[in-house]
């Protein structure tokens, strides 16, 4: 087995079974804040126990192993074709070992061949950079939370949302309201203001690569992130939509240019089982270190 294949299988295993430290810490804080004796507190206690069990048993945190999305930052000259082929093989092997559920369905025939590979599965995004290092990040994006994502086109008359930041705020909060507990809250929002329909969603998902505790370098977007987080947690939707204090664990927003005719706001929702991990590769493709 090649070193790259081994490293990618280990990346999948760890992503599937272990919640990153920043997310775990946020969940521990939310458990401390919930009122004792409520079903919200019970839900978070089960979540805590689940995180510990999955890590100890090296098994999927959530049975919906979701869409497998790789983000690769690589130096000039990396053989992307071989890398992508190896990533597909790693997904197949990880599925055989039970790190991933057999989760990929042919959309026309309805057949699931059990390999988790096919058109668009897995997704591998490459981005070249002027560094000698290769970083591979992986997100396993569950279907329940993917289904509550939303894309708004401003102006949105019913929500009185105009083409300005206040309009963006209104539609993002509407997405939180519509999601209720269906996306397995407490959740994390990734938002893109602008872009086209495809890049809007793509960039909104890339926000999930940020650490929960970071702050947006853009002061305007930072203020909007903090405001949405605070407001959402005042709505009382709570863990699993049971009612309670923690509806969101984080909000991450970016902006992309738009054409004058379009103003999209794209909202991706990540469940509490926020499976995101990354590694840096050595020159021999063994694992040099972990990114989260």
């Amino acid at each position: 087995m090649s070193a790259l294949l081994e490293s990618l299988i280990e990346l999948i295993r760890r992503t599937s079974a272990e919640l990153p430290d920043d997310v775990n810490a946020a969940l521990v804080r939310s458990l401390e804040q919930e009122k004792k004796g409520t079903i919200a507190e019970s839900a978070l206690k089960i979540i805590e126990r689940n995180i510990e069990l999955a890590k100890r048993k090296s098994q999927p945190l959530c049975q919906d192993t979701g869409s497998v999305i790789f983000y690769v930052e690589c130096p000039l000259g990396l053989d992307q074709i071989t890398f992508e082929e190896t990533a597909r093989e790693a997904v197949k092997q990880a599925t055989k070992r039970g790190y991933l559920r057999q989760n990929s369905v042919d959309s026309v025939t309805g057949k699931n061949d059990g390999t988790n590979t096919g058109p668009g599965a897995p997704v591998v995004h490459f981005h070249q950079h002027r560094s000698a290092e290769t970083h591979v990040r992986l997100i396993l994006k569950g279907g329940g939370c993917e289904n509550v994502g939303a894309q708004y086109s401003l102006p949105a008359e019913k929500l009185h949302a105009n083409r300005d930041l206040d309009g963006c705020r209104k539609v993002i909060l509407d997405a939180v309201l519509q999601a209720q507990g269906k996306g397995c809250g407490p959740g994390i929002l990734g938002v893109c203001i602008g872009g086209d329909r495809a890049t809007g969603y793509e960039f909104s998902k890339q926000q999930f690569l940020r650490k929960l505790g970071d702050r947006n370098p853009d002061a305007t977007l930072d203020a909007l992130e903090q405001d949405i987080l605070k407001t959402a947690n005042e709505l009382g939707i709570g863990p699993m939509g049971f009612g309670g204090k923690t509806t969101l664990l984080g909000v991450k927003i970016c902006a992309a240019n738009r054409v004058p005719a379009s103003f999209f706001v794209s909202v991706s929702y990540m469940c509490w089982a926020y499976r995101r991990q990354g590694l840096t590769l050595n020159s021999d493709s063994s694992i040099a270190g972990w990114l989260y």
């Binding site: 945190l61 049975q63 989760n103 909060l173 309201l177 209720q180 709505l235 699993m240 089982a273």
Partner: protein, 191 residues
């Protein structure tokens, strides 16, 4: 905390109310998108699947086949239930279900079905695949595996102390409706 043991009587179900935490012991059958569509379109259940007085679980587990041919359940959390809203009330009535386990809650049609037939919606903790898989003591069988694939097949699971919360009862009450209305009112104050 109440323990529900399958098969469950109507009286037991009628005594439950929204917010009650329960433990379930006995047999659960999984069934999700493909199964609901199949039953709605008149598909027949294999004779081994006994839903009367039983519980249907919206779940697509991770199953590994052991060397001896038996199955091991390694992850078994709930999937989003609302997708079954068009079918659920009919399935409850046709097959005599006393409970439906899932996540995210269901709508008015299912709520009415629960009231009419004596059934409750039990909310499991979404994403808690390991805690819930630990409650599965044995995989007793699998049906329609070839037709629907592993996540969509009907798995017969023996469970002990499977935790869930009643979020829709058989008296027309829904925690999901309450939380939606309250959160809508709170949001209106903040726009």
């Amino acid at each position: 905390m109440a323990t529900l043991t399958t098969p469950i009587s109507e009286a037991t179900i009628r005594a439950l109310k929204v917010g009650d935490e329960v433990h379930i012991t006995g047999t659960l059958y999984t069934g999700r998108d493909a199964v609901h569509k199949y039953l709605h379109e008149g598909g027949q259940l294999p004779p081994e699947v006994k839903l009367d007085g039983g519980i249907l679980y919206h779940c697509g587990p991770v199953m590994l086949k052991q060397d001896d041919g038996t199955w091991k359940c390694t992850a078994a959390g709930p999937t989003t239930s609302i997708r079954e809203e068009p079918y659920q009330a009919q399935v409850i009535g046709d097959f005599g279900l006393r409970g439906v386990i899932g996540k995210g809650g269901m709508g008015e049609k299912t709520l009415a079905g629960c009231k009419e037939h004596g059934c409750v919606y039990l909310h499991a903790i979404g994403g808690a695949a390991q805690v819930l898989a630990e409650c599965v003591t044995r995989v007793k069988g699998v049906y329609l595996l070839e037709e629907f694939g592993s996540p969509e097949a009907i798995w017969e699971l023996e469970v002990v102390n499977f935790p869930a919360v009643v979020t829709m009862d058989s008296h027309g009450n829904s925690l999901h409706r309450e939380v939606l209305a309250a959160s809508q009112a709170e949001l209106a104050k903040r726009l």
